[in-house]
């Protein structure tokens, strides 16, 4: 690619034909993945077998996935198409006319990249995560359940961010023989609704547009949300639900049975090809190990920003109580 720049996302080295200001640039090294944005058009030709789709809470299809021989085709309705090579090494985007650059970058960084990573990694979860002195704590949940708000709340208190929306977990051993599940930092910044930003930060933070179709904005100031530098062992998972109980006077943390945690993790795991038995098997094994080894809790709290400091305190104390 002529004029391409290299960036780091998770520990993936991406060579991109367009600037990705959300990521830190990297000199040298051999890219793991190439990203190219093609001129706007009406999408890639449709000689494809559609095999899966993602539906919003409003029951609307917003992403369709297809098999196109050598590639997977991701069609983000009203935004554009992404072609991902079967080995995940090449990603090409053909945006629809009028799709802004920020939206293309968001779709690549926050939608295509976790799906590409799901081809290589044991487990990529829909989760935010922060680093505590005891290790990494993950907040697992679907869109709109409060992952970013919790991550920002911890970040604002000095805890380092591991991930805002997708969490890569890898089994490895660092400085010791015993293998642990490690969380790989994704990239700096949290995506917040304006009211969440107002509720967390005393002074309105600098923020950037994420995509033209959402009011969420990206807060990346390292003084407000510091970013973790390297992988750390995952110690605990908290599962979020839809709205929380508006009448709950204080937060509650309930232990989950391993089977309950297993089924919840399955529903929050990224998978580019749900038909791929080898990867399904790998994911199944990873989830089984994680739910057997790590404490998993259901976190309930009223979605009131004034409640967040109490939620944070309770979570910070929890690893001590559970013997971590």
């Amino acid at each position: 690619m002529t004029g391409a720049t290299r960036y780091r996302v998770c520990d993936l080295l991406v060579e991109s034909s367009v600037p990705l200001p959300e990521l830190s640039q990297v000199e040298g090294g051999s890219p793991d993945c190439r990203f190219e944005v093609l001129p706007a058009a009406e999408g890639f030709a449709e000689d494809a077998h559609w095999f899966h789709q993602w539906i919003t809470a409003d029951k609307e299809t917003w992403l369709k996935l297809a098999d196109r021989g050598e590639d997977y085709l991701l069609r983000f309705l009203d935004q554009g198409d992404f072609l991902i090579s079967r080995d995940g090494r090449d990603v090409r985007c053909c945006p629809l006319p009028g799709t802004p650059e920020s939206t293309i970058r968001h779709l690549f960084l926050d939608q295509a990249v976790p799906l590409v990573l799901s081809l290589w990694e044991s487990l990529v979860l829909h989760a935010s995560a922060i680093l505590t002195p005891q290790g990494v704590i993950a907040f697992v949940g679907k869109s709109g359940q409060g992952k970013s708000t919790l991550a920002a709340c911890f970040g604002q208190s000095g805890f380092r961010l591991i991930s805002d929306d997708y969490l890569v977990l890898r089994k490895m051993a660092l400085r010791k023989m015993v293998e642990d599940w490690f969380a790989i930092p994704s990239y700096p910044g949290v995506r917040l609704w304006p009211e969440a930003s107002d509720g967390i930060f005393s002074v309105p933070p600098e923020s950037a547009e994420i995509a033209h179709y959402t009011d969420k904005r990206r807060v990346s100031d390292p003084a407000l949300v510091p970013f973790a530098e390297g992988p750390s062992a995952l110690r605990c998972l908290y599962f979020l639900n839809d709205q929380g109980d508006a009448f709950l006077p204080e937060p509650s943390i309930l232990p989950l049975r391993p089977r309950e945690a297993f089924m919840k993790l399955v529903s929050c795991a990224f998978s580019l090809d749900v038909r791929d038995k080898v990867r399904l098997e790998r994911q199944f094994e990873a989830i089984g190990q994680i739910t057997a080894q790590l404490p998993c809790f259901q976190l309930e709290y009223a979605r009131d920003f004034a409640m967040l400091p109490a939620v944070r305190r309770m979570i910070v104390d929890q690893p001590v109580r559970s013997g971590l």
């Binding site: 049975r257 089977r259 038995k277 399904l280 098997e281 199944f284 094994e285 089984g288």
Partner: protein, 94 residues
């Protein structure tokens, strides 16, 4: 599909199982569907995996749980039938 107590059953290759705590999660790779079994269902599966025989499962669970022969038989046949219908078990030889 009718199941009787002297049937030989097994978990097909395309079904993965994982024991989590005292319960079990199953994944049917053909359909991508996940299922779970409670502790009693987990015990059922453990004995079945070891012996492959429903009557052996009946015998083992009768010793372990306070339940009548007829009730246990009915429950085992119903669970086996459900699992066969979902592709989580097959009759041996199939």
């Amino acid at each position: 599909m009718t199941v009787v107590l002297n049937d030989h059953l097994r978990i097909p290759e395309e079904v993965l199982t994982s024991k989590v705590g005292d319960e079990t999660v199953l994944l049917n790779l053909q359909t991508g569907m996940y299922y779970s079994l409670d502790p009693v269902g987990t015990r059922f599966l453990e004995v079945l995996q070891r012996t492959g025989r429903l009557d052996e499962v009946h015998h083992a669970l009768l010793e372990q749980f306070d339940v009548s022969t007829a009730k246990l038989e009915a429950d085992l046949l119903k669970l086996s039938q459900d699992m066969l219908a979902r592709g989580l078990l097959v009759k041996d030889g199939e």
